[in-house]
């Protein structure tokens, strides 16, 4: 009953919130926040109570099933947590905005669809909720108007292409295996021919690849995530693309199964290798494109694509360490990226809509909490020890190195270095440096924005110091797929050669910090000065123009930007233009002259008779 209840609550509250919004804004706000928190609670309660529920007994002759297991629970709790925090954030962000009503209800609807996707116990339910998720997300992206319209259109069309591919795979499976319930499909696939397995992998892989923005299917993401409203950008980057990841896990580990997966393909050209290399390219190229961006949200969007590359790399690599790292990184990226989008949203809100990195600066003084948490999130993206980003990356690197794929490890590590570059650029251009005159009066982020930011930051820190909590869950999930057991301790991995112990590292950092701090206190105190009292080599400080943000990595940009054009995007636009030309050409069949039309009728008849006389079709 629990999965059904959760879905009913989610979709029902979406409707009620919209109606409540017609009544009074406060009522709607309270209802929205309450519903999202109730959903978190319900999902939390469901831990351990794994079950399967048939909720529609006859849909075109198929049974629709919802099931709750650890894998579903893991993704569901992440979804619910991020969406509830985003809703709390929207309380201030969306106040007095005209699309607020729609925003709240659509967010809940998207959440319901995402939960439905992870709870689906048969592939038809999965597909239905997947589609609902896609179109409600498209509506929510578009409701930000302006440039978001083109972004939303690009997103939904690419998503539709993916869904159509998935539909083919789905129905091929149905006609081949006769069932769509996931456990039965998994059994049936074991006996299927390699060609069939490849078809399933390719069609579903295309759909999931588009949703999770794997290169070269990623081109919708930079526009969509940057033009959507900030609370929804957090949800998009944080959890919506993880649905693609969930799909990959379902496809590769549950439906097809690891043994079968590793055998698909020939020699070096296996599915697994190709996916690994696509993941590696997805790590490197978008990360460096992110370095070149000067719009804060666009930078974060490209960064999301890069981080997803890590997850895909880990998943397709297929060892227990890599799998654990990948799923843990899904959680980590959800926390870090939503925090960063919320932080940028807070800055945007307080400065009146400024997102351009060249225009901001010095806001750490005005928004200290936002800055501190954004810093934590940035470090989490890079993977600094003591944040939740360190362990998953460590696991992935170790797996790649130990299994003898140093080139993939190189791609992953270079991705981290690119991440350092863009994280610093983001933090510096928004929060550090000199505070411009026009932003002197910027106030602190409102409480309802600070709370989710703080909670996410806390999560990053806790999971960084005590990685055993998520690792245990991830490890159990991997174990159900037949991956080797990992010795997980509360602080990291158990003792083998190359073990990981976060407690040691944490204590070492704390002690070293204490030592350094004591050393500092030995010296003479510094006198506090304001930003105008700065070194200018003897000349007067040019107040208001003494800030370095524009072209922050200029030398690097000049060197690498010719190589980093988004060629996939150009290709898709070219394709669309050709399609449009063909469509226009096709329309000319209808000339408008009645005589031509009569000619069509007569020639059709003649053609039929001709076909019969010559080819005897009847």
């Amino acid at each position: 009953m629990l999965p059904t209840t959760i879905l009913i609550v989610a979709f029902g509250s979406a409707g009620f919130v919209y109606l409540a919004g017609r009544v009074h804004a406060r009522v709607r706000d309270t209802l929205a926040v309450l519903s999202s928190l109730v959903l978190v609670g319900l999902i939390g309660l469901g831990y351990g109570a794994w079950r399967e529920v048939v909720y529609v007994p006859d849909f075109l002759g198929l049974e629709l099933v919802l099931r709750l297991n650890l894998l579903a629970w893991f993704f569901a709790i992440t979804v619910a947590a991020v969406v509830s925090l985003s809703t709390i954030f929207s309380l201030s962000y969306m106040r007095r905005k005209e699309s607020a009503n729609f925003h709240y209800s659509a967010t809940l609807a998207v959440e319901g669809a995402m939960l439905g996707t992870v709870f689906a116990g048969d592939l038809l339910s999965f597909f239905i909720f997947w589609e609902i998720m896609s179109w409600s997300a498209y509506l929510l992206i578009s409701c930000n108007r302006g440039r978001a319209l083109e972004a939303g259109l690009k997103y939904i069309i690419m998503s539709l292409v993916g869904s159509c591919a998935m539909l083919i795979g789905l129905l091929a499976m149905y006609s081949g295996l006769g069932v769509l319930s996931i456990p039965l499909v998994a059994e049936g696939m074991q006996a299927a021919s390699p060609g069939f397995v490849l078809l399933v992998l390719l069609t579903f892989g295309l759909g999931f690849g588009i949703k999770s923005a794997m290169v070269p299917l990623h081109t919708w993401l930079p526009d969509a995530h940057s033009e959507a409203a900030s609370p929804f950008s957090a949800v998009l980057s944080g959890v919506l693309i993880k649905m693609g990841i969930y799909g990959f896990v379902l496809l590769m580990y549950v439906v097809v199964g690891l043994k079968l997966l590793l055998g698909v393909g020939a020699g070096w050209l296996t599915f697994r290798h190709i996916l690994c290399w696509l993941g590696a390219i997805t790590v490197v190229v978008p990360t460096f494109i992110a370095v070149l961006q000067s719009d804060a949200k666009r930078l974060l969007a490209w960064s999301s694509i890069g981080q997803i590359g890590y997850i895909i790399l880990g998943l397709s690599f297929g060892t227990s360490l890599a799998f654990a790292g990948a799923i843990f990184h899904a959680l980590n990226h959800a926390l870090c990226k939503s925090l960063l989008f919320l932080a940028v949203g807070a800055v945007e809100h307080n400065t009146g809509g400024v997102r351009d990195l060249n225009d901001l600066g010095g806001l750490a003084k005005r928004m200290p909490v936002t800055f501190a948490c954004a810093l934590l999130a940035g470090l989490g993206l890079i993977g600094i020890p003591l944040t939740s980003g360190f362990v998953p990356k460590w696991l992935i690197y170790r797996s790649l190195i130990e299994d003898g794929y140093p080139f993939l490890a190189l791609a992953a590590l270079i991705g981290t270095w690119g991440a350092i570059l863009y994280v610093y650029k983001l933090l510096h251009n928004i929060f550090l440096g000199q505070l411009p005159e026009k932003h002197r009066e910027v106030r602190r982020a409102p409480l309802s924005m600070r709370i989710p930011i703080l909670l996410l930051g806390l999560g990053i820190l806790v999971f960084g110091v005590v990685p055993g909590i998520p690792l245990r869950a991830v490890q159990d999930i991997g174990h159900t797929f037949g991956l080797a057991q990992l010795k997980v301790t509360l602080w990291g991995l158990g003792s083998e050669a190359g073990a990981l112990n976060m407690l040691n590292i944490c204590l070492a950092v704390v002690i070293a910090f204490a030592a350094a701090f004591l050393l500092l206190r030995l010296g003479a105190k510094g006198r506090a000065v304001d930003q105008e009292d700065s070194y200018a080599a003897g000349s007067a400080v040019p107040v208001g123009r003494y800030h370095y943000t524009v072209d922050f990595y200029g030398p690097l940009s000049r060197m690498i930007s010719p190589y980093l054009r988004d060629r996939a995007d150009e290709f898709y636009y070219w394709l669309a233009a050709r399609g449009r030309e063909i469509a226009d050409l096709t329309r000319k069949v209808y000339t408008g002259y009645a005589g031509t039309y009569v000619l069509y009728i007569v020639s059709f008849l003649a053609a039929l008779i001709f076909l019969q006389l010559v080819w005897h079709i009847w």
Binding site: Y600, I601, I609, Q612
Partner: protein, 495 residues
Amino acid sequence: MVNPILLIAVPLGLGFIIPLLGLIWEKPTRYVPAAAMVFNLAASLLLLPKVLQRPWVVETAGLPPPFSIHLVAGPLGVGLSLLIALVGLLVAIYAIGYVREGPVAKYHSLYLFLLTGATGMVLTADLFNLFVFFEILCISSYALVAYHGDRAGTESSAKYLIQGAIGSSLVLIGIGFVYGLFGTLSMADIARNIDSVSPMKLFLPMAFLITGFGVEAAVLPLNAWLPDAHSSAPSSISAILSGIAIKAGLYAVARVLFTIYGADTIALLVLVIGILTLLVGEMSAFSQNNIKRLLAYSSIGQIGLIVFALGLASALGVQGALFLVVSHALAKSLLFLSVGYMIYRTGSMEISSLYGMGRRMPVSALCFTIGAFSLVGLPPFIGFPAKFTVIMAALERADPLFTALVGVVLVGTVVEGAYFFRIVQGLHFRPPPESATPARADQEEAPVSALVPICLLAALIVAVGVYPSVLTHYLGPAARDLLDKAAYIHHVLGP
């Protein structure tokens, strides 16, 4: 029990009464079509469970078949007349408020005749009778297309008339051939004796019949009248034409192919025609700026899909085709109806003038969105199980050719999605054009007489989309009615 002949007689009779009533008192004439359709709806609902197993054969002149005109009220016939009655009723309610200028009584009279023609077509068992009702349908629609009396309407109607007349003549010639070959006009009788004639001689009448009925059914390349006619007609007529009239034509084609001829062998030809119609329809819709023309081309595309499903010639394929017929009828009428008042308010059919209508007419815009999403085939709307069934039927055969064809069909879906999503965005999220008159909150939304059918259609689309088993229960017997030639002959003519 209601005699199926009443399903035809009542609308026909009331159709004749309306002009007489109009001479005395114009006002109540608006309500007569709705009343007639209420009766039809109730009657069909009562009949449907009874005829699921065994069709009711109605003899008209007291003579047993095959000696006079008969009606066969089978699951397919009664089901389709139910659909005709439902959509006809809702559009009639809409027309109560929508049709105000011009010869209103004549409008409603012709409208009832149109529906009579359609109902008659789906219920009859006689080939010439089929042609008669077909003609009633066509002629009513020729006149109704020109209802506005403006240049565009008249021109479209004239072109429609020319092509329709040619089509009808071809049908007549075909029937003549058939009569010459078999000496009978009862479809069951022809079907029984079909094998006694050589295929070469048989093909000619079939070609004529298919081409003739195909003009009304709007398959490529016979559908050139459709974009003009459906875009220049009043919106309620566009709705009924797209929703019902072309389905009736398609029904005629399907009956001829499957029941009379048992055409499994030319299924591939039907498939190809279907796919071509789908592609040309969707692609032509893509760059349209006129909303009604776009919807008309979209109808062509959907008809292509239905023909594709029919061409699969399997039980599941025909079920999918019927499911699509219902889905498209509901969705396309919803789209035309909701757009009708939007066009009325802005005075223009350009899509760019509809930007921002979501603010001024929220309910209409919402229902338009539901209709559009259903047409693209998104859950949880009825279009999804419909398309799903069709593709399921196509992939049932596990043949790479069919997988490729399905790929082409899905390309059509993506193109469809592309233009519908653009419109939906424009409706809800784009600012209205500067030339738009400022909104007056009280007068903006469509009147109740329009909102009731629109909301009901939307509700149906959602309801059946979430619980398709309501519909699929009846699709099986209906498909069998169409495909199973032997059973049809058995039911009509006896053992």
